[in-house]
């Protein structure tokens, strides 16, 4: 079952998204988290670099965030490959994280949406979660004013940490 989310006013969404994202990166740095915006693709899309942390090793992963529905709804989330114009990272490649044992997050390489087959980062702070037939509890549901893109990034930071991150693919 798939649904659709209403598009936000693009100018308002862009301004709010930029403000929230910059604040989130700044406050995360104060909490010791090394995230970076590596590219503004356009006013509604930014790529954030985070680290997969496995023992003493760290591996870069890139998150393409989309603010088409922000912030009445969460940002869209895709794990992408910098070598192919920020297209979806493919399983087995070094930019596709291997995440295991997390009950509240799944990364589906291909998911059948109403309009297309594409990647689904399945958790309640990702817009695509709400258009793929999932039903969060009230406490899990994105709430404008309570949640910002920080909620999205902090959960991704957690799944890319030692609790759930198991490495990446091995292509050169």
């Amino acid at each position: 079952m798939t649904q659709t989310l209403p598009l936000a006013d693009p100018e308002i969404a862009a301004a709010v998204f930029r403000d929230h994202l910059m604040r989130s990166i700044d406050s995360a740095a104060k909490a010791g988290r090394d995230w970076a915006i590596v590219e503004w693709v356009d006013d509604l899309h930014a790529v954030v670099r985070m680290w997969g942390r496995l023992g003493d090793a760290q591996y870069p992963h890139f998150i393409l965030l989309g603010a088409e529905h922000y912030d009445l709804h969460p940002p869209r989330v895709r794990i992408v490959d910098p070598r192919s114009g920020w297209s979806d990272a493919a399983p087995g490649t070094k930019y596709f994280p291997i995440i295991d044992g997390c009950g509240w997050f799944q990364l589906h390489p291909t998911y059948q949406f109403a309009d297309a087959v594409r990647q689904l980062a399945c958790f309640s702070y990702s817009a695509d979660y709400y258009v793929s037939g999932h039903t969060p509890t009230d406490e899990q549901r994105w709430q404008q004013g309570r949640h910002t893109v920080s909620a999205t990034l902090t959960r991704l930071h957690r799944v890319l940490g030692p609790e759930f991150y198991r490495g990446r693919g091995s292509d050169a």
């Binding site: 909490a31 509890t137 893109v149």
Partner: protein
């Protein structure tokens, strides 16, 4: 806890709210129950405690809720503290 610790300097607790990226700062005496600081945090965040909330000590990753009945200095010493708070997350269970 000993009497000298009860009268020690305040402990600064910075709470990083992962849900919106904001931080708040709380002050607590060494003899303050951890539960009191947690309650103050929820008041400042304008939220009610929920069963699946997460509250962790940044330095060690320790869960703070089980320390509710301890005094601050017994639970954490007299250092400055960074706590990380997050509400529940839904996903494909």
């Amino acid at each position: 806890m000993n009497e000298s610790a009860k009268h020690g300097a305040d402990i600064d607790v910075t709470v990083y709210n992962e849900d919106d990226g904001t931080t708040i700062t709380l002050k607590a005496g060494p003899g303050t129950p951890v539960r009191t600081v947690i309650e103050k945090m929820y008041t400042e965040l304008r939220r009610e405690q929920q069963p699946n909330d997460r509250l962790y000590l940044k330095a060690t990753g320790e869960d703070i809720f089980p320390k509710s009945d301890q005094h601050m200095s017994d639970a954490f010493g007299d250092r400055e503290l960074l706590w990380e708070f997050a509400g529940d997350t839904g996903g494909a269970r």
